[in-house]
């Protein structure tokens, strides 16, 4: 029965079949590529015609049978050429697409379909390209399209969505397509999926940014330097270390410009070592852009490139100026301490020396007196000489006594002592100095002052220190200003206050702060221990010591001592 049907019927069935197939296909892909509000259903007819165009790629010669023979040959050749170009078009490894000015996709190759994750051109051809582009890039694409239809060639990277809903990054190169009249009819876009490379470059950028942030925020100076010492890179911490306001004040300059010459050689050696692949560190003094000097400690290591060659010296440098200064101070203090130990050993020596000297002195003194006695009235000149010998030996005795008093080590033994007696004994001691320098001492000791509870020798030491400081202060002044005042009076019912004042220039503010600090002295040969020891002694007795100027009296040192309860 079937072969009885005529051609027309066969054609009709074929047509129907094709319609059915197309419809089924349409139903399967009812959701068009995303972001499109209008679902455009292409008319079956148009679709068909276009579909038939692509299906003709298999060298099927589709020629109108009704053409004359000559024309048939020309048409055949034309068809062959068209097939070739079509083949090239379809097999291109990148997506090639033709797009009209309003964005309608006119043509797309297989690669393009694959990119869009679809197998059917019907889903794409006739669609607006803008349905495929992620909203953020639509404007950019439109702009590109506009430029192309103006005759430009443009490259754009954008994100689009495939028919399956996947987002992909694309790079497209677009050119205008002209017809025979040189009118731009379409836009040809060659597009490549750069999703992977884009991801990588994003990661790289993130990584680079992280490293950059670390470099920028690192609180210590980080720098890169070449083999000649030229600074290639320096982070903000380093710039501020050098007191540089601008990046260009430092980068490009040679590190040796910032270093004192004595360290240059060692630094050169360090650089050479690093460029050979080693690591090293050193301390040096840097001269910052404001001229200041600071101590720095640098740790250097080689920076290698991809091939493993040393491309730069990477150094982290920290400011150790504070530490260096502390070390200096510590060294000075140790030296001073050693000196004081020697002095105290000397004190011991002085003590034993005094003891030893005493014996011969005792003999000499007695001999001289005996000789004087023997000579009585015999020779006048001899008398005189012997008197002198006796006098000098007594003087030597007194010196020894004074040394021993001063150096004597006793466990502090507080007793009830009167202010007047200690003041007077110290004044006796400085009498020769006072007289020689024509200094007047004004004593103002309140009558019937209660006794203080204190160790006599130690308080004498404090007074000795204050009074000799006062003497030194006035000794350079004109004679009428060489006046020292020493006062002792009630401070309260429980305290006696001692004041040693001298006219003359006041002590400056910054020195006042340091007055009682150990090792602080403004004298060339000073030890700087006097006031510090005085303070220790006074405070150990429960008193206070301080400095203040008083109008009329000049500069005064005050200290208090507790009243003795033994009276």
């Amino acid at each position: 029965m079937i072969y009885e049907l005529n051609i027309l019927t066969w054609f009709g069935i074929a047509l129907l079949t094709m319609v059915l197939i197309v419809n089924i296909r349409l139903k399967k892909q009812s959701r068009f590529c995303a972001f499109s509000n209008t679902t455009k259903y292409v008319s079956v007819q148009k679709n068909d015609a276009l579909a038939m165009k692509s299906y003709a790629a298999e060298n099927v010669v589709n020629v109108n049978k009704n053409l004359p023979k000559h024309d048939k040959n020309q048409a055949r050749e034309g068809q062959k050429s068209e097939n070739l170009f079509r083949e090239i078009f379809e097999s291109a490894p990148d997506c090639v697409m033709l797009q009209s000015q309003d964005g309608t996709i006119e043509l797309i190759n297989h690669t393009g379909l694959a990119l869009l994750e679809t197998e059917h051109k019907d889903n794409v051809i006739g669609q607006s390209v803008y349905n495929l582009i992620v909203p953020e890039y639509i404007d950019a694409y439109r702009e590109m399209s506009r430029k192309v239809f103006n005759g430009e060639r443009v490259c754009l990277e954008y994100e689009m969505v495939t028919c399956k809903g996947t987002r992909r990054w694309m790079r497209t190169n677009t050119v205008p397509l002209k017809d025979s009249q040189q009118i731009i009819t379409s836009l040809v876009a060659t597009t490549r999926d750069i999703t992977d490379t884009h991801l990588i470059s994003q990661q790289l950028e993130a990584h680079r940014h992280k490293l950059q942030t670390i470099f920028e925020s690192e609180p210590e100076c980080v720098k890169l330097q070449d083999a000649e010492g030229r600074i290639m890179e320096m982070n903000p911490a380093g710039l501020s270390l050098l007191k540089a306001k601008n990046y260009n004040d430092v980068v490009g300059k040679v590190i040796y410009d910032f270093m004192t010459p004595e360290y240059a050689k060692d630094y050169r050696d360090l650089t050479a070592q690093v460029f050979k692949g080693g690591r090293g560190s050193m301390e040096f003094e840097v001269i910052s852009l404001d001229g200041g000097r600071r101590w720095l400690e640098t740790h250097a290591a080689p920076l290698r490139d991809n091939k493993g060659n040393v491309s730069a010296l990477l150094a982290i440098t920290r400011d150790i100026d504070g530490r260096k200064k502390d070390e200096e101070r510590l060294y000075q203090q140790q030296t001073e301490l050693a000196r004081i130990c020697r002095l105290s050993t000397m004190g011991e020596m002085a003590s034993s020396l005094a003891h030893e000297l005493n014996q011969p002195l005792c003999a000499v003194s007695s001999y001289a007196e005996s000789a004087r006695q023997l000579n009585m009235h015999a020779t006048k000149e001899l008398d005189v000489l012997l008197d002198k010998i006796v006098l000098q030996s007594r003087r030597a005795t007194q010196i020894i006594k004074n040394i021993r008093d001063f150096v004597r080590k006793q466990t502090p033994s507080p007793e009830s002592i009167s202010a007047a007696s200690i003041i007077n004994s110290v004044i006796d001691f400085v009498e020769p100095n006072r007289r020689r320098n024509m200094i007047s001492i004004d004593l103002q000791i309140t009558e019937d002052l209660p006794s203080v509870k204190a160790d006599r020798v130690q308080i004498e030491q404090v007074l000795m220190n204050l009074i000799s400081n006062a003497i030194q202060a006035v000794v350079e002044l004109p004679y009428d200003q060489r006046k020292i005042t020493i006062k002792a009076s009630h401070e309260s019912s429980e305290e006696i206050i001692f004041k040693v004042c001298n006219l003359g220039p006041d002590i400056s503010e910054d020195i006042v702060k340091e007055l009682f600090t150990p090792f602080y002295t403004t004298k060339e040969t000073g030890m700087g221990m006097g006031l510090s020891i005085s303070r220790s002694i006074v405070e150990a007795h429960g008193g206070r010591i301080w400095y203040r100027t008083k109008p009329g009296y000049g500069a005064c040192f005050h200290f208090t001592l507790p009243v003795s309860s033994d009276d």
Binding site: S351, A354, H355, N358, Q359, P360, L361, C362, A363, V364, S365, S366, Y367, E369, S370, R372, Q373, L374, M376, D387, V390, L391, S393, R394, T397, I400, K401, R404, R408
Partner: protein, 218 residues
């Protein structure tokens, strides 16, 4: 002018052969002291150590001692202790180096006469020696007297001893007679005997003598 003039007359030898004993480890100091002592006609004996001195010392021999405090071997403190142990009352003058004052003070507490600091003045040293010798004389004569009195006392009869006690307490013969239930005449006889035996001219001197005498009963 330096006051070094000393009158020789003040330093008369009071008892035969008084000696000044000088103990010091320093030769020059010893020598200077010797010269000083001899210059006033006193006898000086030098010793370089306390040991040497103790080996030769005779407590019967009158004199005084001048010694240093710090010496190698036995020091001044130990020397004093040993002298006390052997019952010697020899007056001590201590020479102190400036640093030994606390020690010297202790020695004074333990019976030394005085201390003088080195270097000393001759004048002061001689004054101390004077004091020391005077003291030594007094002690000796007191000792002698006390010895003698003791001997005399031993010769008294018990009755006489009894009367002696009453006499020394200051009561009259009459009262003694009453207390002893003897006649006053007998008391008078006893009184005379006691005075005679005790070699005293009066009850007063008797009293003095009795202060040195240990009472014993026969």
């Amino acid at each position: 002018m330096v006051p070094v003039s000393i009158s020789h007359c003040r330093y008369r030898v009071m008892i035969e052969s008084q000696s000044i004993y000088i103990v010091d480890d320093d030769a020059a100091v010893r020598d200077a002291l010797s010269i000083l002592v001899k210059s006033v006609n006193l006898d000086a004996k030098e010793y370089s150590s306390a040991d040497q001195f103790l080996a030769e010392y005779n407590p019967q021999h009158p004199g005084c001692l001048i010694t240093d405090v710090y010496m190698p071997g036995i020091d001044g403190v130990e020397l004093q202790k040993r002298l006390v142990d052997m019952g010697s009352q020899i007056p001590m003058i201590i020479m102190s180096g400036h640093g030994d004052i606390p020690l010297a003070v202790n020695m004074i507490r333990n019976g030394a006469l005085d201390f003088i600091e080195k270097p000393f003045s001759n004048h002061q040293m001689l004054e101390h020696i004077q004091q020391a010798l005077t003291l030594d004389n007094e002690r000796r004569s007191t000792a002698i007297k006390s010895n003698q009195s003791q001997k005399y006392y031993a010769t008294l009869t018990p009755r006489e001893k009894e009367v002696l006690e009453y006499l020394v307490s200051g009561v009259s013969n009459k009262v003694i007679a009453a207390k002893m239930a003897i006649s006053p005449r007998t008391i008078e006889t006893h009184r005379a005997n006691v005075l005679r035996k005790m070699n005293s001219e009066s009850v007063v001197s008797l009293v003095q003598k009795m202060s040195h005498v240990h009472r014993t009963s026969n």
